[in-house]
Symmetry: C2
Subunit: 348 residues, 2 copies
């Protein structure tokens, strides 16, 4: 006997499959996908699990057909944090695709930030995600505010009032790393500051100071060097710190690029890392595991952050469409201190 041939193509699972798996109605699944709040938490979890299990992704065609509503999210990025970007993109895409939104990616060059933002707005995006360092661009923020386009800044240290933000607690993370060094027995801990125009820099520095003072250690300005988040600036800062009459036994750089540069300088001076010098970074960029020894560093949950940013943004867009006004959200995610081979106890 001939069964009806499904018109649906291969394995792709539908909202009904998810519903069956979760033991609820398709409508409830739809509600979960769209982040409606009238779903009990326990139900939401069941459904979310089913979605994960089945690898479900909503069919955008069906969605826009049924709702006559398509959410378009813009992602504006600029060159520098390229290591960051791929993870960021993956997380963001995953979430947009799960939510059936459309993600539009736009790259901008130095100086063209505001212009690129306008272009996105002109293309009709409903909201924009701003990874660092764009998230700190005054020009972009103003452009977006003017066109009343919702935005979510990711990993900015000091979020503007006009945008929502997703970030880790840079201060706490830097404090934790400094504390880690203190726990290892270090007393002379050098610090390389980040670029002064990025708001996270100041916060990381504050965390460093906080940990020192809590441990009753005096902050020695000679042990603090100014860097600019680049490898090259790290070389100079490390040269300065390691050239001191009484150099630090550990150096905490505000990002991995500068930490890598510090390792390079140490090697040039014949110092072994970590035997003669402990070096720690921040970001857990690709560089951290590329060089040898691999860097102890702070890992930001980048993919989670962009996922969260997308979620927040979609919520804001939906709320705005139904005429509600939403407060700007501030989300803090957890960081992780990742211990690798670049730290150890001081020699003496």
């Amino acid at each position: 006997m001939q069964q009806k041939v499904a018109r649906r193509q291969g394995g792709g699972s539908t909202i009904r499959d998810v519903a069956r798996q979760a033991g609820v109605s398709p409508m409830t699944v739809s509600r979960v996908i769209n982040g409606e709040k009238s779903v009990r938490d326990s139900t939401r979890e069941t459904v979310t699990a089913a979605i994960r299990d089945l690898n479900y992704a909503p069919n955008p065609a069906a969605r826009s057909l049924a709702s006559a509503e398509l959410v378009r999210i813009g992602l504006l990025y600029s060159n520098p944090s390229a290591a960051y970007l791929s993870e960021f993109l993956v997380g963001g895409m995953e979430q947009t695709s799960r939510s059936g939104a459309q993600l539009i990616i736009e790259r901008c060059d130095e100086g063209g930030e505001a212009e690129a933002a306008e272009k996105l707005v002109g293309m009709g995006v409903d909201g924009i995600i701003l990874p660092p360092p764009i998230c700190d661009s005054e020009a972009v923020l103003q452009t977006l505010a003017k066109s009343r386009t919702p935005a979510v800044a990711v990993a900015t240290g000091h979020p503007a009032a006009s945008t929502s933000a997703v970030r880790i607690d840079d201060r706490a993370a830097a404090e934790a790393m400094t504390q880690h060094l203190i726990d290892l027995g270090h007393r002379r801990i050098g610090f390389i500051k980040g670029h002064p125009n990025q708001t996270a820099s100041a916060q990381r520095y504050e965390g460093y100071l906080t940990a020192l003072s809590r441990a009753g250690l005096a902050a020695d300005v000679a042990l603090v060097a100014q860097g600019y988040f680049t490898y090259r600036s790290g070389l100079e800062a490390a040269d300065q710190l390691l050239g001191l009459p009484s150099p630090p036994t550990a150096i905490f750089a505000s990002n991995d690029d500068m930490a890598a540069a510090t390792v390079a300088v140490a090697h040039r001076l014949g110092l072994d890392v970590p035997r003669d010098l402990t070096v720690c970074g921040f970001d857990d960029s690709a560089l951290a595991t590329t060089i040898w020894p691999e860097l102890t560093t702070i890992r930001q949950p980048i993919a989670d952050m962009s996922r969260e940013a997308v979620t927040v943004l979609i919520e804001e867009i939906r709320a705005r469409r139904s005429g509600e006004s939403t407060p700007r959200r501030r989300t803090l995610l957890d960081f992780t201190l990742i211990r690798r081979q670049s730290d150890g106890r001081p020699k003496d």
Copy 2:
């Protein structure tokens, strides 16, 4: 009395409006739109006129929903350099969105490649894009061949018979770089090979040999060290080459990570780059511009390659759906030799 609120959005007329106006069934209108030949000419004219009258344009969402024509493309990546991936993603997304296809991204860990490929197939993707290093995974290729899923390998040196491929000519690129070193005046040129299990490695080595022999230089096996594309393997290889009684004046590493390691070793030995030693890489990864001096290297047009891969894949999928069989395609794109600060003329 409350009328039913039309869920349809503004002014657009539907296939039913056209059908009514033309006095036929919606199905017939659909046939006219799709240019099926089983419609009487007179009918076709009536319908065409109605379409023009009403300014009708078919709703693309409904169309792709009904015809299940949605093309889903999977992108399976493991752990290439982050910079590579992000560019790759951007190009791929741009093209899929242009073509109205859906892109699904899946990450896999070492050893789980085949499993991840199966997962994608299970999710109902119609074809898969394989960036390096996955493109050389025998397990993945077999999995895909078994499920008859079309695939496009990007940047593999030696494409499998079962897949299409988009790549640059690694041999020619390595030859060009070697020639560049020869032109600068170098005669003792060291080479660090890539991982033997990646097919591009052998091609790069061949290119190196070709350039030497064309310049009438003898290939000295002592100047060739085995590396594995990792920074650490680069450290060892560079140690070996620079420890020779008569070390090379230039070292050409098969990728940027190993070139960066070579720079580090040179610095440790008190050699200035490029004054005392020229170092070149391959890939133009983020690392190339992160370290100091920035590396002279070969740039692959990554975004273009992924764009092209998507295009080829969609063509194959469409052809296959309409029952045609397509030959596997081989596309070569142009590379660029990027000159930065890590090369110079030999000292003597």
